[in-house]
Symmetry: C2
Subunit: 256 residues, 2 copies
DNA sequence: TTGGTTCCGTGCGGTAACACACATTACACT
DNA sequence: AGTGTAATGTGTGTTACCGCACGGAACCAA
């Protein structure tokens, strides 16, 4: 069983690794280490040092800030579209946040030193990482905006959709308690809003499992924040033909 | 008058320009263009193209997201500690936000092309810009957290302190209406909380002017978010001795 | 089948911030 | 000095979310 299962893993399930030019991917692929990422594992603690950068494939990570009171709030999520460890190359080496596994699964990791070596060549790897960082900034910004102006119900929809986009199926393994801690609200608030969504026929759930039934419906209930994030990720990380040359001033993209 | 006033302006009033190695600063200083930044001017509109990057000296800029409803929320502020235009080198070229002058004053601008040329040398300029970007990410993250968990009063204190840190005096020229639109709350909410702070002897204000009387007191009223942001900026942008070499794995800093 | 534990549902009172309406005041300008 | 406008103060009712308490149900393991 172990062998068959392992054989189904592939670094290219991570989108960032997948869009790297072949020669760069080949140069690091032997150093990519497949690791399980069990639910709840803390990959990074505020102020700590990362020994590896992580590329999730089937898992989803969550970047949190943990307040002095112990309350938490999600800053951003990281799935197979992204990676954990940007502070490695941005220069600070640490961040005041925590990274925790939100959905158990697998991913690949790469030693910090190797990532830095490749980044410092100032080639496609660097440009890809910076683009991803830019997309991450949009995600964080939109979290800030959403926290300010939107209802718990809208935020739950946004969060479900973003999470769904990172998963192969339409079911997430997730207690209401956990969702609540992600959004930084009460568990009862999730019970209530999830109940509304279920009555509206958009989702169904049972103890620890949420299934999205009507994805299009969810998109109608959610706020604009979801689409802003989604489109920005698409804009920044799909047109990868330009990774091979330094950014220069050029004509306006037709992507928006 | 014009000449005397102009003579008091200096690009080195901007901290990022000030910590650049002398040879790099010298190579761009002739291209730095002093410009007035009047209150309310929109330097950048969502999805637009920046022709210049901006280094505020006596002005303060605000990065906003403008919602479909027209409501706004501040994502981050930019004063003489920073610069506007990171999307230029991060790769996306545009962002889904707006940049507006929050406190009138002056700043310097540099043509996008020149900034890119220097950035693409992958030397100290690049490393400085990436560090600043990392600090900005912390600021945005903390905005998200603060929006989620803290009262308007705490947020107002945080915002006042962050703004004060970017100004030479202890007085800000700012209507309650404007403050409200920054924080994304009602104007009446600011009237009320500012009234509380005034009664507590921390600030005083009159039509369009807020004066901080007891800075230490404000720091007690504010939430942890202020210090997180402040310390992170200090950590990332004060130790500039390492700008001359690529980041490598090294001993843990003793700064936190 | 039977506990036991974790998760979910619900009710109730409290409160911070909202939306709207309108009174009042400070300042700028002539 | 007077006047108009922009800014600030205040009141009223509403709502979304919170904190707490506890009942009930689903799943697990023996």
């Amino acid at each position: 069983m172990g062998i068959i299962k392992t054989a189904s893993h592939n670094p290219l399930q991570n989108h960032l690794l997948a869009v790297l030019p072949a020669e760069i991917f080949d140069s690091i692929s032997a150093q990519l280490e497949l690791i399980p990422m069990p639910l709840g594992e803390i990959l990074y603690e505020s102020g700590g040092q990362l020994q590896h950068v992580y590329f999730p494939t089937t898992s989803i990570l969550s970047l949190h800030y943990v307040m002095e009171s112990g309350a938490t709030a999600e800053i951003a999520g990281v799935g197979n579209e992204g990676m954990l460890g940007i502070s490695i190359f941005m220069g600070g080496n640490t961040t005041p946040s925590r990274a925790i596994v939100q959905t158990g699964g697998h991913g690949y990791r790469l030693k910090t030193r190797l990532m830095l070596e490749e980044f410092n060549r100032c080639g496609p790897m660097m440009r890809l990482m910076l683009r991803y960082t830019q997309a991450l900034i949009t995600q964080i910004s939109q979290t800030a905006v959403c926290n300010r102006h939107h209802s718990v119900e809208q935020q739950l929809c946004r969060w479900l959709l973003l999470t769904l986009d990172r998963l192969p199926s339409n079911e997430l393994t997730m207690t209401q308690e956990l969702v609540a801690s992600m959004l930084g609200v009460r568990r009862e608030g999730i019970t209530e809003t999830a109940g509304n969504l279920q009555r509206a026929g958009l989702i169904s759930y049972r103890r620890g499992h949420i299934t999205v039934i009507d994805r299009a419906g969810l998109e109608k209930y959610t706020c604009e924040c979801y689409n802003v994030v989604k489109q920005e990720f698409h804009r920044l990380l799909s047109d990868t033909g330009t990774l091979n040359r330094p950014a220069v001033k050029h004509k306006i993209h037709s992507t928006l």
